[in-house]
């Protein structure tokens, strides 16, 4: 039997689990739902990993390259135009295979962790149902064979994120955060949708493979028409790609659409680990990677990707240095790392060695998923232990939480890029790709690398060293919570040694990436500097940090207020959208449209009141009108013509 036949299982299993847990969970599976969900996930990860393994190492390597295989393709919605249709397909190629592993493994870990973390929650079954839903949507997203299908799962992912962020629905902040996350990404999706419409309708297909084939062939009809058509001096294809990227940027929390991500930390921490660190937020990177051949043909769009990524990386890193909420720091760090991935794609070329950036980006995606989810889960343990998110309430926890401490440290080292942990390798490749393409970007990347090390270790020292501020309420927790930490830490250590350029490349043909020892000096130096600074400032309690912050003045203020982006948004929505569009629209409706109708009615009534004198009860007046009527009729209809 062909292994590809198992691929549909990847979608069916979590969907079933969602349905079962969602419908019967509350009543009949109150306590077993967690185990049930986790078992399904275990099965799922086994399938996913074996499918991916099979794909990479057994089956699909032909002519030096990996083939994209379409495991399934059912017409779902057909249109009467250019044979356009939305199909439900399953596309397996290196990036989707790689994503399968990431998603299922992280999801499994999160499930296991949640068994302990969410124990005793009132909506325990619902939680696992939502997790299943999310896993289903995310797997659907990466396996999508066409761009519209991807959009569909894209939305589903968004809604599962919404549901999970708002899981603690009685907490107003959680509700607001969920709403914000959904609306901001929806706004970005608007761009995505329009981009899809432009691409799909011009090219006559939504299918990824056909789309790429048509739009990378300068002779094809679709390519020519899209180049020719334009708006505001920019060609249609550029518009389309930029709009699609807007969608990706929204989901991946790129500047300036990032504002939802920090707030999204209102959700349960394992959810943050799964959705807002490892999987959903990298969907934007995945999207750009998916369409990379087309992007590659369009420097304008690619530049947009590069600069958005680079700016976001730097911007988020700066903010991360000033935040005190542990999850927010991690959120900004996520944003910063995704910025890395984004600009890596932007600086990448296509094919072979030139495609280093592409490989590096996805490599980073891979490694980041593990160490970042590890960080979140670790944060989860800490929050669980002291019931606070704020680092000011933490400190000196290394004795109370030993396992967590070690795992957290490993993750910090990994993210900071200390060799030989996984982060080092992926980040190194990214910087190399940037160096080869654009020194300015490289400079930003390098500086950000230092900042990353700084803020991560700031966090580490503030939590585990410094002076203890609160006594832990809980212990480290059950085995369910420790096991994932240990597993993920292990993966974070070894993942760097995977020969990624053999597996995931821009043209799906393996190449050997070279490792330059000399090149690593600068980044390493930056990292060490960052760690050292953090050590000096935060290892022990003192006024040094505060003094430095004071010295930074405005910059620090701005950074700690997240550069006032939220305020700008608030201004725009409150004052412009609500006050200048919404209210006038409502008022217009009430006064002009409604008033018009009422006015018509009242006008008629008033008019009828005005002419009531006609019927004044005087018979002679009646007869005079009678006579007048006759005379008028006679004069008008006879007089004019005949006399």
């Amino acid at each position: 039997m062909n292994y590809a036949q198992y691929i549909p299982l990847l979608l069916v299993l979590p969907l079933l689990s969602f349905a079962v847990l969602g419908i019967w969970g509350r009543k009949h599976l109150k306590n077993t739902s967690g185990i049930l969900g986790t078992l399904v996930l275990l099965l799922l990860s086994i399938v996913a990993v074996s499918v991916a393994g099979h794909y990479f190492f057994v089956a699909e390597k032909l002519n030096d390259g990996y083939q994209s295989i379409l495991a399934l393709n059912i017409p779902w919605l057909t249109f009467g135009y250019k044979n356009l249709s939305i199909d439900m397909g399953l596309l397996l190629d290196p990036i989707s295979a790689m994503m399968l592993v990431v998603i299922t493994v992280v999801s499994l870990m999160v499930h296991v962790f949640s068994l302990g973390y969410m124990k005793g929650e009132e909506r325990y079954p619902t939680y696992f149902a939502f997790l299943s839903l999310f896993t289903f949507s995310m797997l659907g997203l990466v396996l999508s064979a066409n761009i519209f299908q991807m959009y569909i799962f894209w939305e589903l992912v968004g809604v599962s994120s919404y549901l999970l962020i708002g899981f603690y629905f009685t907490k107003p902040t959680a509700v607001a955060a969920a709403k914000k996350a959904f609306i901001v990404t929806r706004f970005a999706d608007l761009g995505f949708l329009i981009g899809i419409l432009m691409l799909g309708i011009q090219a006559g297909t939504f299918d990824f493979l056909t789309l790429i084939e048509r739009l990378t062939n300068p002779e094809s009809e679709a390519f020519i028409s899209m180049q020719a058509a334009g708006f505001l001096g920019i060609s249609a294809i550029t518009w389309a790609l930029c709009l699609v990227f807007v969608g990706g940027a929204g989901k991946s929390a790129m500047f300036p659409l990032h504002i939802w991500l920090p707030d999204a930390m209102e959700g349960p921490t394992p959810v943050s680990a799964l959705i807002h660190a490892a999987t959903m937020v990298v969907a934007g990177v995945f999207l750009v990677a998916r369409l990379f051949p087309i992007f590659h043909f369009n420097p304008t769009a690619l530049n947009l990707v590069t600069w958005t990524g680079a700016l976001s990386a730097l911007f988020a890193a700066i903010i991360a240095c000033t935040q005190t909420d542990i999850k927010r720091v991690l959120a900004y760090s996520t944003m910063s790392q995704i910025g890395y991935m984004m600009f890596a794609l932007g600086v990448s070329g296509y094919g072979g060695e030139a495609g280093l950036g592409y490989t590096a980006s996805l490599f980073h995606l891979f490694t980041h998923a593990f160490f970042k989810s590890l960080l979140f889960l670790g944060a989860g343990v800490i929050i669980h232990a002291i019931h606070s998110n704020d680092v000011k309430d933490m400190g000196g926890l290394r004795h109370a939480l030993p396992v967590t401490h070690i795992c957290f440290l490993i993750a910090c080292l990994a993210i900071a890029g200390v060799p030989p942990l996984s982060g080092f390798f992926s980040k190194e490749e990214i910087l190399l790709a940037a160096w080869q393409d654009n020194p300015a970007i490289y400079a930003i990347g390098l500086f950000t690398a230092g900042l990353t090390a700084f803020y991560m270790f700031r966090l580490y020292f503030l939590i585990f060293w410094n002076k203890p501020n609160t006594k832990p309420i809980h212990k480290e927790g059950s085995l369910w919570m420790k096991l994932p930490l240990i597993f993920l830490a292990a993966v974070s250590i070894v993942a760097g040694f995977i020969p990624f350029s053999q597996l995931v490349t821009s043209d799906q043909k393996p190449f050997w990436s070279s490792f330059h020892l000399l090149f690593s000096i600068a980044p390493l130096a930056m990292v060490i500097l960052g760690i050292f600074m953090a050590y000096r400032l935060f290892k022990t309690p003192g006024e040094k940090a505060a003094a430095l912050a004071l010295r930074m003045g405005r910059l620090y203020q701005a950074a700690s207020h997240k550069f006032y982006v939220d305020e700008v948004y608030l201004f725009v929505t409150r004052n412009i959208i609500y006050k200048m569009i919404g209210k006038p629209a409502a008022r217009f409706d009430k006064q002009i449209v409604d008033g018009g109708v009422n006015g018509l009615g009242n006008g008629t009534r008033v008019f009828s009141e005005k002419i009531k004198g006609l019927q004044n009860g005087r018979i002679q007046w009646y007869l005079l009108v009678f006579l007048g009527g006759i005379l008028l009729l006679s004069i008008v209809f006879i007089g004019i013509n005949k006399i």
Binding site: F79, G80, E155, T170, L190, L197, G200, I201, G582
Partner: protein, 495 residues
């Protein structure tokens, strides 16, 4: 199968309710609408077995009675996929409406009779192939609406009822002129027959003169901007079943008419006026969405959002592409189911909390989880989430609209597309305030969750929504021949 059965059953049910004691009314109504529901499914089955059904857009199960021989008025019935899907929609909503009204106390006899009359009007409208009969059935539905709102409604019900009746009457008056124009200017014998009129369209000048009458006439029913103002007031004052019928069926009468009568019978004029239609539709979509954003009453929210959603129907028709028209039809069905469910859920919430002001509610998910879950689901459907029917319909309209390369159309489409964000804003705002958030009142925790009839109504409708949302090919295949034959008409004329 004889389509007149579809009229007979509601009529008989109505009569039976009239003759039996008031206590039996609801049972009779349920039985009647249940049988009708089964009949519609049976009809669907029969329809799909016809070889013609999936191949050509032929009108099946035709039945032609001469009604007024002297005036060449017929009671001509027949269906294609489009009308069948509308009939099915009606069956769903009517059954759910009866279920939701299970506990009505006040004048229950009259209530159910009016419901039956209303549904008979809708069924008759959708299966008619003769404009006179169509108009007849359209008008039948007006007075029950007036009475339902005025007698069983809440709030400023008399005002709303009067406004609704008058605006719809005005629409009918315009429509009446349009239909007469078609009738009088038919080449050869004067006729109301849609088949004859379609085969032999009136000259362009005539079409240009009468198209606005027919289109605006039907448009008012489907909340064409700026004639939508009966919608918010009417819906918000109506009793639950009334709102469901109003938004779920009645507004669809207009959309169906715009498509079947105005566009299909006057294709040249449709092309001529298309930019205006699109403009109005785009305004309705965006404007409706923005106006919704400012509402605090749940029913107003859904009513204004209906204005916005029905704009998609008009947009789909206005772009005159096959995808657009199919999208319009699906949007009608989808919006019908969705908005009926939404009103049902709002009704259930209102019955329990006795308020519809979103700022006075909160945390209902904790108190009444079933209702709240369905509420969230239908809200997500309303904001066009994939998996629900709304998404399919909206996407089809967008694609249909985008197919047309005209810049104006594109800009209008962009504007319409932008509504998905605004929709998300108001829907999530409502969900956030009503379903989520802290429990506002202690008393909410004592509320009872949905009873069996409410559950079955909600599940019935959500099943329909999910069916379309998950397997849209079912409905597209059903309506494809119909849209194709409409498209043939439209394109042949222009070429």
């Amino acid at each position: 199968m004889n389509l007149l059965l579809l009229l007979l059953i509601p009529a008989l049910t109505g009569l039976a309710i009239g003759f039996f004691p008031a206590k039996q009314s609801r049972l009779l109504a349920l039985t009647g609408s249940g049988i009708q529901f089964g009949l519609c499914l049976f009809l669907l089955n029969n329809f799909l077995q016809q070889p013609d059904a999936t191949l050509s857009g032929a009108l099946l199960f035709q039945n032609d009675f001469v009604w007024y021989r002297a005036l060449n008025i017929h009671l001509h019935t027949g269906i294609d996929g489009i009308s069948l899907s509308m009939v099915l929609l009606t069956a769903f909503v009517v059954l759910a409406g009866v279920l939701v009204s299970w506990n009505i106390q006040k004048m229950s006899k009259e209530f159910f009779i009016l419901l039956m009359l209303l549904s008979a009007g809708a069924y008759g409208f959708f299966i008619s192939l003769d404009l006179f009969a169509m108009f007849f059935f359209l008008e039948i539905a007006v007075i029950p609406k007036f009475l339902l709102i005025g007698i069983w409604g809440s709030g400023k019900k008399e005002y709303s009822a009067t406004k609704l009746a008058l605006m719809l009457m005005g629409a009918s008056a315009l429509l009446f002129v349009g239909l007469l124009g078609l009738y009088m200017n038919q080449n050869g014998a004067e006729s109301f027959s849609m088949i004859a009129l379609a085969a032999n369209p009136a000259p362009l000048a005539v079409q240009k003169f009468f198209f606005p009458f027919a289109f605006i006439g039907f448009g008012v029913f489907t909340a064409l901007f700026p004639f939508h103002t009966w919608v918010p007031d009417g819906h918000s004052s109506a009793p639950t079943a009334g709102s469901m019928f109003l938004a779920g069926i009645s507004m669809k009468l207009g959309g169906y008419g715009c498509l079947r009568v105005a566009t299909y019978l006057m294709p040249d004029a449709a092309h001529y006026y298309a930019p205006w239609i699109i403009l109005l539709a785009a305004i309705a979509i965006l404007y409706g969405a923005f106006a919704t954003m400012m509402q605090t009453d749940l029913k107003y929210i859904n009513a204004f959002s209906s204005v916005s959603h029905c704009g998609f129907v008009l947009l789909g028709i206005g772009v005159l592409t096959k995808t657009g028209i199919a999208g319009a039809v699906i949007q009608m069905v989808s919006h019908g189911l969705m908005t009926a469910l939404f009103f049902a859920m709002i009704g259930m919430v209102y019955e329990r909390t006795h308020t519809r002001d979103i700022s006075k509610m909160g945390g209902l998910l904790k108190a009444i989880p079933f209702i709240s879950t369905l509420f969230v689901m239908v809200a997500l459907c309303s904001l066009g989430l994939p998996g629900f029917s709304g998404f399919v319909a909206e996407m089809m309209v967008f694609i249909g609209a985008w197919e047309n390369t005209n810049t104006l159309y594109r800009i209008a489409t962009l504007a319409a597309t932008a509504s998905i964000v605004v929709t998300a804003v108001y829907i999530l705002n409502a969900v956030g305030k009503v379903i989520m958030g802290p429990v506002k009142k202690e008393s909410f925790m004592q509320l009872k969750d949905a009873a069996w009839y409410e559950r079955s109504a909600a599940l019935l409708l959500i099943a329909g929504i999910l069916l379309i949302g998950l397997a849209p090919f079912l409905i597209t295949n059903l309506i494809e021949p119909g849209t194709q034959s409409i498209m043939d008409k439209i394109t042949i004329i222009t070429k």
